[in-house]
């Protein structure tokens, strides 16, 4: 039964990963033939190239920022969509829309919205609104966290919606009888019951934003002043604009290592290996 999955994983994950590790010890400009250079790529990327650390810092900012923005919004949206309010179905469809758009289309649309001469800032009569959303190196990171969040919140909202719907209604009824208000119910029933959904969603958000590429590439290309050139983009630029496959592979291996560590950590912190149940009466 597991064979197709193992094959798939082997062909699309392990073999390329192995290839990337091998190339990280080689000098290769794609055109000529690759040659072994031992540890010199690693030495260069880690110690002689200050930008690696800058990019790592940017990546961490991006990952944490994205998480802090996406997680609460997605949770609240999911809880709301699982409810029974009027117009809920209609609103749920609207919230879901960003997930259906291709990232290039989203990127070009936001580019128009952020345009200084024809976009939001020109259309709205607010003088305090900045008009250099994408060209201000202090601002662009937060703009990107917002745009990327805008794209992914619906997906995580959907996860939470499904999670909330599985919580037995009887628990809320019992809590109501005990006199717990909505806020108390949210923190004492909904959140603990959503625990595994939260872990799944958090893992996807963190690892997803760690390796995120397309919208940042379309909207900024890493500019201005490389202020959003996070590691995945740095890997692309190094490998496919500058054709330094050796350096790019080192960056890729670093990304794999961070990604694996991150998901392992989440797994340990969440204690998912322990068998326990928090279903009422189980």
């Amino acid at each position: 039964m597991a064979l197709p999955a193992v094959l798939f994983f082997g062909i699309f994950a392990l073999i390329p990963l192995f290839g990337v590790v091998v190339i990280s010890f080689m000098e290769w400009n794609v055109l000529g033939s690759p040659s072994w250079v031992g540890l010199s790529n690693w030495q260069a990327v880690l110690f002689d190239r200050p930008f690696t650390w800058t990019a790592l810092g940017l990546t961490i900012t991006f990952v944490i920022g994205s998480y802090l923005f996406q997680a609460p919004v997605a949770l609240l949206l999911g809880v709301f969509m699982a409810g029974q309010q009027r117009y809920r179905a209609l609103l749920a469809v609207l919230y879901f829309l960003p997930l259906l758009f291709s990232s290039v289309a989203v990127g070009l649309t936001f580019q128009s919205l952020f345009s200084p001469n024809y976009g939001l800032s020109a259309a709205l009569p607010f003088d305090w609104l900045p008009n250099d959303w994408l060209s201000n190196s202090d601002l662009v990171m937060w703009v990107m966290i917002f745009v990327v969040g805008w794209c992914f919140v619906p997906f995580h909202g959907l996860l939470y919606q499904a999670g909330v719907r599985q919580i037995p209604q009887s628990m809320y009824e019992a809590a109501t009888i005990d006199g717990a208000g909505r806020v108390r119910q949210f923190f004492s029933i909904t959140i603990p019951q959503l625990r595994y959904t939260i872990i799944t969603s958090s893992t996807l958000m963190l690892v997803g934003s760690l390796t995120y590429f397309d919208l940042i590439f379309v909207l900024t290309g890493g500019q201005p002043a490389n202020a959003v050139r996070i590691l995945p983009l740095d890997m692309y630029v190094t490998g496919f604009s500058s054709y330094n496959l050796g350096y790019a592979s080192v960056i890729a291996v670093i990304l794999v290592a961070i990604g694996l560590t991150l998901s392992l950590l989440l797994n340990i912190i969440s204690g998912s290996s322990k068998m326990e149940s928090d279903k009422a009466g189980a």
């Binding site: 390329p16 990337v20 000529g32 250099d132 060209s135 496919f240 604009s241 794999v256 694996l260 998901s263």
Partner: protein, 428 residues
């Protein structure tokens, strides 16, 4: 088991990105004797596809298979293919650094004996770009794209300014436009590459084409040149003192915002490639047909050492022939180049589409086209040019192109001085 699955799932997420990036295009050099060629999608490429279709119809025993690839992924794919010996028979390039590398690695063959009448037909300034050490390694295949100065006559009339011919005129015009609250120049600084056109023209006007030739030839410290410094200083001055539109760092060219600023009169002039002519006709037809849409060459610099007829831009796309192709395939490619390139039907199709083949013998045909005025202007520009400078980001080695863009972006933002720029470029 559960834990391993999760870790595996997370691992899959990370590595699938790598797997995607690792994909390269493979050539289709199966056992048959057909030659092949990769072309691009969009732009004027359908005319090239039709040209191949006609060739294949007329030459049963010398078929050329074509594959159209999207522009951005083409550069990576062709490089992978050439590097692995799987390149198509006809290799398309923009010449410059990439072509030089192909030749140095002996991945392409010398075409000097296989170009037929082509050399005498193509403008010298364009033909030069396919030459390496006096041998022809690439021949142009489509339209020439010089960078020109567009202007909005209505804005000039309102401010009472004449179209500038010299840099002194430009400086005077900037003052007048600023007094009238109009931006003198539109510039898509956010995209950076349109700013490269400024750097190229200003350097050339100030010091001539030798300045950048020294950079390409890898001369020690070649970036540290007074003409390059002059160009960078001038650009920073234009940015700070109202030469460029005040939002220039946020304007991008992706959706032709820079052309829109010219079209709706927010800016008086725009330095851009010849393709913007048809962009303006498509996207802003009202402006294009108002009679206010004009074009001229880049102003001359009074004491500059550069030849004022020099131009910059994209000379054309070029064909080279793969050294890894079989002799039969190469022969088909040689025949296609010497017998078929720029044949009458294809030239007509290009002209009808508003694009200009870099040929000296089609004046009469140009005069009959709908866009005769612009095509004649560009044709004269290219025909009379002493030197046609290929865009710097194409001309330098691929690993230098990215730092060039990054550093120029910092110049535009005022985060770097011209001295720091040349120092950073010299250290590469």
């Amino acid at each position: 088991m559960r834990r391993t699955t999760r870790v595996a799932a997370a691992g899959l997420g990370v590595t699938s990105l790598l797997a995607l990036s690792a994909c390269g295009g493979g050539g289709e050099n199966g056992g048959d004797a057909d030659a092949d060629a990769w072309i691009l999608t969009g732009g004027g490429w359908p005319a090239i596809q039709e040209d191949f279709d006609r060739w294949n119809e007329a030459n049963e025993d010398a078929q050329i298979d074509t594959e159209a690839i999207e522009n951005d992924s083409y550069k990576g794919q062709i490089r992978t293919a050439v590097g692995s010996g799987e390149a198509p028979t006809l290799i398309m390039s923009w010449t410059g650094g990439a072509l030089l590398e192909y030749a140095e690695e002996e991945r392409i063959v010398d075409l000097s004996e296989h170009t037929g009448e082509l050399e005498s037909r193509v403008f010298d300034s364009v033909w030069q770009n396919g030459q390496i050490d006096d041998s022809t390694y690439a021949v142009p295949l489509n339209d020439v794209q010089p960078v020109v100065m567009y202007y909005n006559q209505a804005v000039f009339d309102e401010a009472g300014v004449e179209i500038p011919e010299t840099w002194e005129d430009v400086e005077a015009a900037i003052d007048t436009f600023n007094e009238n609250d109009v931006a003198p120049f539109s510039l898509a600084g956010g995209s950076v590459w349109p700013a490269l056109m400024w750097l190229q023209y200003l350097t050339d006007r100030h010091g001539g084409e030798e300045v950048f030739a020294a950079v390409v030839e890898g001369e020690e410290g070649a970036w540290d040149n007074e003409s390059i410094l002059y160009a960078l200083e001038t650009m920073q001055d234009l940015g700070e003192n109202g030469g460029y539109i005040d939002t220039f760092n946020s304007v991008t060219a992706d959706q032709n915002e820079d052309a829109q600023l010219l079209a709706d009169g927010q800016a008086a002039m725009l330095l851009q490639g010849s393709w913007v002519y048809s962009t303006i006709h498509q996207d802003f037809p009202e402006f294009a047909e108002s009679g206010d849409f004009g074009f001229t060459s880049f102003p001359t610099l009074e004491d500059g050492a550069g030849d004022p007829s020099n131009i910059v831009g994209n000379p054309a796309n070029f064909w080279s022939v793969s050294a890894d192709a079989s002799e039969e395939e190469q022969q088909i490619a040689f025949d296609y180049i010497s017998e078929n390139l720029y044949n009458e039907e294809t030239v007509t199709a290009m002209l009808e589409a508003g694009s200009l083949p870099p040929l000296g013998d089609i004046e009469d045909q140009i005069a009959e086209t709908e866009d005769a005025e612009f095509l004649e202007f560009s044709s004269n520009l290219v025909g009379e040019a002493n030197h046609f400078q290929l865009s710097w980001d194409q001309a330098v080695a691929p690993e230098v192109a990215q730092p060039l863009t990054d550093n120029l972006s910092q110049i535009l933002r005022g985060d770097m001085t011209p001295e720091q720029f040349v120092e950073a470029m010299n250290s590469l």
